[in-house]
């Protein structure tokens, strides 16, 4: 019964899945099919992301509905499934007092590796994640970045086919974050692992994932390749220039373009008609002795896509206007 289908076409397949915490419905009849690859999972706080992750991991029984991950049934084959999944939780899930390498080896053993193999793999994974120097230190003394990588190491040690990552870059500094994302990208693209990456930083998903699942209030708002969900070519350009400050912007308006100013000086976003040629920007600039340094067509980036699907204005309209009364 434990044999998995040889090549599951879908990584995750959920049908009519719901989950209740008491009366609160965290997931509402979710049906979902996701192909293998790097998948981003985004949504507001409390949208049901962690519940979904926990169900995919087999930690939580769905209240109704069924699903398979990697071809294994979520409920009946949860142990086999969990041995093939690596989970990197958001919370600090370390055992204080243990050395880094022992902890990773323990994670491997708990996933069914023999002790010596686990220890060997632990060293290998730790050096892959550039933790060689600290692997014999106690894990409670690690810095935030090291702890994050240690958690990833513990999730990777048994060479899982699918990695579930909950906020892997939270609390990392820019270099650490960059390194983490490069790593995840390499794991996904070069080693053919699937990953599901839940994060609030849309930039992370942009760099690592090619698919995205957007969750809101327990329902799936969008699911698919980022490129397909995205609306291309909004007919807008972002311009940056050096030199003359206002004249150029004014000249743009005079050529019949609509301008949205941005918070930065020397930068505007203009809306252009369909048959617009970029050469004309340079012509106008030359006339006003402005030097164009950036002419960037605006695509729907992930934040915009997200805000469109969630239904909030991308420029924020929802801040309550109540502040301190100024009297």
């Amino acid at each position: 019964m434990s044999s998995a289908p040889t090549s599951p076409a879908a990584l995750v397949e959920l049908t009519q899945l719901s989950h209740f915490y008491g009366k609160f419905q965290a997931l509402k009849n979710v049906s979902l099919t996701v192909a293998p690859g790097a998948i981003g999972l985004i949504g507001q706080n409390g949208a049901g992301k962690s519940t979904l992750l926990k169900i995919l991991l087999g930690l939580l029984n769905p209240s109704s509905g069924r699903g398979t991950v990697l071809g294994f049934d979520l409920v009946r084959q949860r142990h086999e499934l969990r041995g093939r999944i690596g989970f990197m939780p958001e919370a600090e899930s370390l055992i204080p007092g243990m050395r880094g390498v022992d902890l990773v080896a323990l994670a491997g053993e708990l996933s069914g590796m023999p002790r010596r193999q686990a220890l060997r793999r632990a060293h290998e994974v730790l050096s892959y994640l550039e933790l060689d120097e600290v692997r014999y230190r106690q894990c409670d003394g690690y810095s935030v970045g090291m702890k994050q990588r240690l958690k990833l190491a513990a999730a990777l040690v048994h060479d899982p086919q699918l990695l579930l990552l909950d906020e892997p870059t939270a609390g990392l500094d820019p270099q650490g974050r960059d390194a983490m994302l490069r790593l995840l990208h390499a794991i996904a693209s070069r080693h053919g692992k699937s990953l599901i990456l839940s994060t609030h930083l849309l930039g992370d998903i942009d760099r690592v994932c090619e698919q995205v699942i957007i969750v809101d209030r327990g329902s799936i708002l969008g699911c698919g390749r980022i490129g397909e969900l995205r609306q291309h070519s909004l007919g807008r350009y972002r311009l940056r220039w050096r030199g003359d400050d206002s004249g150029f912007a004014q000249a743009l308006t005079e050529s019949g373009l609509t301008i949205q100013t941005t918070p930065r000086a020397g930068e505007v976003v203009v809306e252009v008609p369909a048959d617009w040629k970029t050469v004309r920007f340079f012509e106008i600039a030359a006339r006003h002795s402005a030097i164009l340094s950036d002419v960037v067509p605006e695509e729907e980036d992930l934040p915009r896509l997200y805000h469109r699907l969630i239904g909030t204005d991308s420029r924020l309209a929802s801040t309550p206007a109540t502040g301190y009364p100024k009297s």
Binding site: I42, G43, Q44, N45, G46, A47, S143, V144, G145, E167, A170, G171, L172, D173, P174, Q175, G176, R177, H200, L201, L202, G203, R240, R242, P263, K277, T278, V279, F282, E283, A285, A286, I291, L292, S293, D294, V295, V296, P297, P303, Y306, H307, I310, T312, L316, S318, T319, P320, T322, G323, Y324, P325, K326, S327
Partner: protein
């Protein structure tokens, strides 16, 4: 309350580091830093271990400087008087868990010495400010991370401090919440408060901060607005990405230019350039396009972001 409660009425900088050095035993935390904080948003950047945490702890009076002085509104940072003017939103996700958000903020108000009536009023104001008025009655134990962050912020705002210090405020907050909080910081800055934000997420800093303090290896490496700091690296080669349908023709035109250090063909119709003296280059490039009417669909300087500046600062600092 009146506007005079707000710090723009105060003369001079709101907080000041006067050649401060701090060491723990033999380990040095920060080394001889002198910085002033003024009204507006100041971003505090630096890699882990750069001394940011020590900086913040010195400012909030949890540590005593080994050398030098830290002044907040002209009082030493460790004095009770200084703490009246400082609001601190710590990094650690810890609360009096059994309280509700409202109780917690009110408790902090009371601990700041307010009367019961006053603390109730200010609590409501602070909760409104962070957008938690209607959700503040749940116990903190059951709150999501985002709600907890907001309560933590409300706690820092409740006594209307002149200096607001927020450590990693946007961790665990969803994109919509991020925008709301950034808007909140801007409002504070507009009121004349000095807001010190430490964050790892550089693109947010880019949008948010008026001024940036770069730290590295226990020292302040650079202070100023992003364009200022960027200008310090004007001599650095710039990365430029050009998308043009006539990729090869454009490349052959560009090769002889002496501003162009390197050209790389990437993708179907993309060029990656490394240029020096960017002003010259862009002027010449503009003329070239007008003359040849190549169809350039994108011209983008890829390293003017904070992230790239950060890399520059860090590599520059490593050279000494």
């Amino acid at each position: 309350m009146n506007v005079a409660d707000y710090p723009d009425a105060l003369p001079g900088p709101l907080a000041e580091f006067q050649s401060v050095t701090k060491w723990y035993g033999a380990v040095i935390g920060v080394n001889d830093i002198s910085v002033t904080l003024e009204a507006g948003i100041t971003g505090l950047l630096g890699p882990n271990g750069a001394g940011k945490t020590t900086f913040i702890k010195l400012l909030t009076g949890q540590l005593r400087p080994s050398l030098g002085n830290v002044l907040v509104c002209d009082a030493p940072a460790r004095s009770a008087a200084a703490r009246r003017h400082i609001g601190y939103c710590p990094d650690a996700d810890a609360f009096y868990e059994e309280m509700s958000g409202r109780q917690f903020v009110r408790t902090m108000a009371r601990l700041h010495g307010m009367s019961a009536v006053e603390s109730r009023e200010r609590t409501e104001q602070a909760l409104a400010e962070v957008g938690m008025l209607d959700r503040a009655d749940r116990t903190l134990r059951g709150c999501s991370k985002g709600m907890r962050q907001r309560i933590k912020l409300a706690q820092a705002l409740v006594h209307q401090p002149a200096v607001l210090v927020v450590d990693e405020p946007l961790n665990g907050i969803d994109p919509v919440g991020r925008r709301e909080l950034m808007e909140l910081f801007r409002r504070c800055a507009a009121r004349g408060q000095a807001v010190l934000v430490s964050s790892h997420i550089l693109d947010e800093m880019d949008e948010l901060a008026d001024r940036i303090v770069f730290m590295g290896r226990g020292r302040v490496l650079a202070v100023g607005t992003l364009p200022d700091i960027r200008a310090m690296f004007a001599g650095q080669p710039l990365q430029i990405r050009i998308a043009c349908r006539q990729q090869r023709e454009l490349a052959t035109r560009l090769i002889p230019w002496d501003q162009v250090l390197r050209i790389e063909l990437s993708g179907i119709d993309e060029l990656l350039l490394q240029v020096v003296r960017p002003d010259d280059f862009f002027r010449q490039f503009g003329e070239l396009i007008q003359a040849t009417s190549f169809d350039v669909s994108r011209l983008e300087t890829t390293d003017t972001t904070t992230e790239a500046t950060f890399q520059h600062v860090m590599s520059a600092a490593a050279k000494f």
